[in-house]
């Protein structure tokens, strides 16, 4: 049997909860299911009713590709409809980008914080993951591909334009392929100006998702954009992996973009309220957080407990019945922090964070 057996399978964060009786635990890592918004449901049903049940072009339906290209260009990441492909979720987009650009033995530079699953994908491809801790220091020497999330759904923090510019300039100089994961870009609390260096951004592969702010996780729809010279290879790999993306999901995503203003505003309001409420609960106990730029993650600074984040998470689960993710799962930069998801059902979220605050105070 082949390489799949070598893959570390799932469950890095969930493993902590699994050690205790799950019925008793408040799991602050798993968001409650969100209903698909009414205008998206309506568009999806209309697509089915008019018989949109066939394959689409391997890169997806043109109106959706045009809308994504437009959105990406407005954000400072220039793209054309011909340089966009729709994928079965953001995960597939990232997998394709990595699989198409990495050779076995290549070095993939992964800017911290990084999801364990990304490291797993790189290893599975047979390439070598190298975690970078500081973007400003990143010379990218000896790298073949560099992956950066901007903003980061893991740390909840956006990357400053300056940092991304330094990285992209280094990549240009070193001839390193850049993959920018922009999945969390729609999930900002505050609108951001476009990236200041579209000339550099035009050279990168970007990946995106409709799972977060648009609430389409179960529909499995995402995308990648590519400069013209890499597109055929990426599109060819997409075709040989899954032919095309689920047709009805593409129409759902198109509707999501047509209603983006109202849908994202609703999400933004929901998360802003929750963020403020929880930060207040934590502040009352003197517990700081990393000020988030994007939802749904909130990183809570637990260093005053005197425990490292793994120990803290284990004890919090066993003694207070609350499941959180140790930040250092995603890299040293988030050590001393635990990560919760603000999409968790609200009463559970409040109760869980209140218990966490008491746990810290009790020392």
């Amino acid at each position: 049997m082949g390489r799949a057996l070598a893959v570390r399978v799932l469950g890095h964060g969930a493993a902590i909860g699994a050690q205790a009786d799950t019925a008793e635990l408040l799991d602050l890592t798993r968001p409650e299911p969100q209903e698909t918004a009414a205008p998206i449901r309506k568009a999806a049903k209309a697509a089915l009713e008019r018989g949109e049940t066939h394959y689409t072009a391997r890169t997806g339906i043109l109106p959706l590709r045009q809308a994504i290209a437009g959105m990406s260009t407005v954000d400072g990441f220039p793209a054309t409809a011909e340089g966009v492909a729709i994928t079965n979720g953001g995960a597939e987009a990232l997998y394709i980008a990595l699989q198409a650009t990495l050779q076995p033995g290549d070095r993939a530079l992964l800017l911290e914080p990084v999801a364990p699953r990304v490291i797993d994908v790189v290893r599975f491809i047979g390439a070598q993951p190298v975690v970078l801790t500081d973007i400003e220091d990143a010379r990218l020497e000896g790298g073949d591909v560099v992956v950066v999330s901007a903003p980061s759904s893991l740390s909840s923090v956006a990357m400053p334009d300056h940092g991304l510019t330094v990285l992209l300039e280094a990549a240009r100089k070193q001839d390193v392929t850049v993959i920018v994961d922009r999945s969390a870009a729609p999930d900002r609390y505050q609108p951001a100006p476009p990236f200041a260096r579209p000339d550099l951004a035009a050279e990168v592969i970007t990946v995106g998702s409709f799972s977060g702010g648009y609430g389409l996780a179960g529909w499995r729809v995402g995308y990648f954009t590519s400069p013209p010279d890499g597109m055929e290879r990426l599109a060819g790999l997409k075709e040989s992996m899954s032919i095309c993306t689920t047709t009805v999901a593409q129409f759902a995503a198109q509707a999501a973009l047509e209603h983006a203003g109202e849908l994202l505003a609703l999400e933004r309001d929901r998360f802003t309220r929750r963020r403020d409420m929880l930060i207040q609960i934590l502040a009352a106990s003197g517990i700081p957080v990393i000020q988030p730029d994007v939802y749904p993650a909130l990183l809570i600074d637990i260093r005053q407990s005197g425990m490292d984040d793994h120990r803290f998470a284990q004890r919090l689960a066993s003694e207070a019945g609350v499941v959180v993710e140790p930040g250092s799962i995603f890299g040293e930069s988030l050590a001393g922090h635990v990560r919760i998801n603000l999409g968790v059902e609200e009463t559970m979220l409040i109760e869980g964070v209140t218990r966490l605050a008491s746990f810290v105070e009790a020392g």
Binding site: R58, G236, V248
Partner: protein
């Protein structure tokens, strides 16, 4: 850049043809294997009900339990395969992904996989990407593109990991006869090989032929990875639902990879698939009858034009020998598209040696197929 993806890129000629055809509004496509028939209404209705009832959220990586159980019932009922829905079935985002995942999970660099030729080009792409080597076993028109176990056995080396079987075949429409399938099973057991059984066209066999799943033969379940999907059976190409059934240890490994690649198959499509598998099955027989009528129509027309094709007993293709035209397949593809407005894929899209063959799909209504045949006749006569 990953050079192992190069084989994928080399197959673009059919995409170029498709794009050319898309620019010509009058063109008739006998190209892609995408059924023209609509997804049956009760299946679409089930998807709409899922959307209305809010059953659109994330699903487990292995697939909705309801779907895995429906697949287990189908595998037992139709294929004679007993599969544990908890441990031996993985739902995939179409059978293309099933193939991709299982090959990546199974094949180590240097492994050889025996594949009948001509073949679906995604086999090359998946095996090459995994670092494996594809070992081609020819099939031929004189034997209706059946797979000869002697030819397969002659190609087994100490690097052979698996034999890939597709019956009915894309592109040849041939089926592997029960006797040959039995012998292939014996060879797999004797030589301790894994069998990858692509059964995506299982529902479409004609002229009294019977589809047999090799995993149902004695001693084969433990060494067979069966893949299939709903795209062809229920005209559900755009929904992207496929599956793999195999021993639990292998499913566990493939599920780990599935989690990395795209997490789970789309939820609404999975509910539609439950309705397809558990609902009335008459739609399959109805489609089979429609394809059979079209098959006879196209066979007669192509015979009238001097083309030959053995006896196509399955799928919805005619793999026709065009030697009598004196034109190579790629040239003829472009010629037919330009002068007849008919899109047909050249044999070279399915293997380097097949420049004398073309694949015709039967996925247009009869009057349009008649029109396509008439246009072809005019061009070939001129």
């Amino acid at each position: 850049m990953n050079e192992r993806t190069d084989t994928v890129v080399d197959e673009v000629n059919i995409f170029a043809l498709q794009e050319l055809a898309a620019r010509s509004p009058d063109a008739i496509s006998l190209g892609l294997g995408d059924p023209d028939l609509p997804t049956p209404a009760h299946i679409v209705d089930a998807a709409i009900a899922a959307i209305d009832e809010g059953r659109t959220g994330p699903a487990p990586t292995r697939g909705l339990p309801e779907l895995r159980h429906a697949l287990a019932r189908k595998l037992l009922r139709v294929n004679g395969i007993k599969a544990d829905p908890e441990r031996e079935i993985l739902v995939t985002t179409g059978s293309q992904e099933a193939l991709f995942l299982l090959v990546q999970a199974l094949i180590e660099p240097g492994d050889e996989v025996i594949v009948p030729d001509p073949r679906y080009p995604s086999y090359d792409a998946a095996i090459h990407l995994a670092g494996g080597r594809i070992v081609l076993t020819p099939t031929d028109e004189r034997h209706d593109f059946d797979l000869d176990p002697v030819e397969v056995e002659a190609r087994i080396t100490d690097r052979t990991k698996a034999i890939l079987l597709i019956t009915p075949s894309n592109p040849t429409a041939g089926i592997i006869s029960p006797a040959n399938l039995q012998r292939l099973a014996e060879i797999a057991i004797e030589r301790d090989l894994i069998v990858i059984a692509d059964e995506i066209y299982e529902n479409f066999v004609y002229d009294g032929a019977e589809h047999v799943s090799i995993a149902s033969l004695p001693g084969m379940r433990e060494r067979t990875i069966t893949l299939g999907g709903l795209s062809k059976a229920y005209a559900m190409t755009g929904w992207r639902v496929g599956y793999i059934t195999a021993p639990a240890e292998f499913i566990h490994a493939v599920a780990g990879l599935k989690a990395l690649v795209n997490i789970h198959a789309p939820t609404v499509s999975q509910w539609a698939a439950v309705a397809a598998l558990d609902g009335p099955q008459e739609c399959i027989a109805e489609m089979r009858e429609i394809y059979d009528r079209r098959r006879k129509l196209v066979m007669d027309a192509l015979t009238g034009m001097g083309l030959t094709f053995g006896q196509p007993k399955g799928a919805f293709y005619i793999w026709a020998n065009i030697s009598s035209t004196g034109i190579d397949a790629t040239t003829l593809s472009y010629l037919l598209l330009r002068d007849a407005g008919v899109l047909v894929f050249p044999g070279t899209a399915f293997g380097e040696k097949w420049g004398n063959y073309m694949r015709f799909t039967l996925l247009q209504p009869e009057p349009i197929l008649e029109e396509a045949m008439e246009r072809m006749r005019r061009v070939l006569r001129g």
